[in-house]
Symmetry: C2
Subunit: 89 residues, 2 copies
């Protein structure tokens, strides 16, 4: 159980890092990405920190805000070290 | 507002279709995928029908259950006709 929680945390952190990397590459602040994706800045902060398990549609809004596809964003996240396929239930 | 709701529906349906296509290609029933992903069969039914905006971690469990990466699954979904980048808030 504890292990599975650790997996989830790592995976969410990888997603957050992938989002943050793309945002920083585009010289966007969290506030600016928030405006583009219609999300509050603190929501972006939480997502980038891996603190939220966001929904598919929110993920899509972020990809749109970053001018990338979901395929590109997932590829970034899955290529990060922390990404762990084995998320137990 | 109505238009944005339509967008969301189309995008969720594309995701559902991408999942269904991969499941059927592997001769898995919804029940079997449900067991592999630790989700109830009816949950799989709803997701494939585009009736649920699932979370990132649920999406990952489904990808694991389908033995594919999120990148592959998103690529499938984004290549479908119904997929519409422009999801308004």
């Amino acid at each position: 159980m504890q292990k599975s929680k650790q997996h989830r945390k790592r995976v969410l952190r990888s997603l957050g890092t992938a989002i943050r990397n793309r945002r920083v590459d585009q010289y966007l602040s969290q506030q600016e990405l928030g405006i583009k994706a219609d999300l509050h800045r603190t929501h972006i902060t939480d997502i980038e920190g891996g603190l939220r398990n966001i929904s598919f549609l929110t993920l899509l809004r972020i990809a749109n805000g970053l001018d990338c596809t979901l395929t590109e964003l997932m590829s970034d996240a899955e290529s990060l070290d922390g990404f762990d396929k084995g998320v137990a239930s």
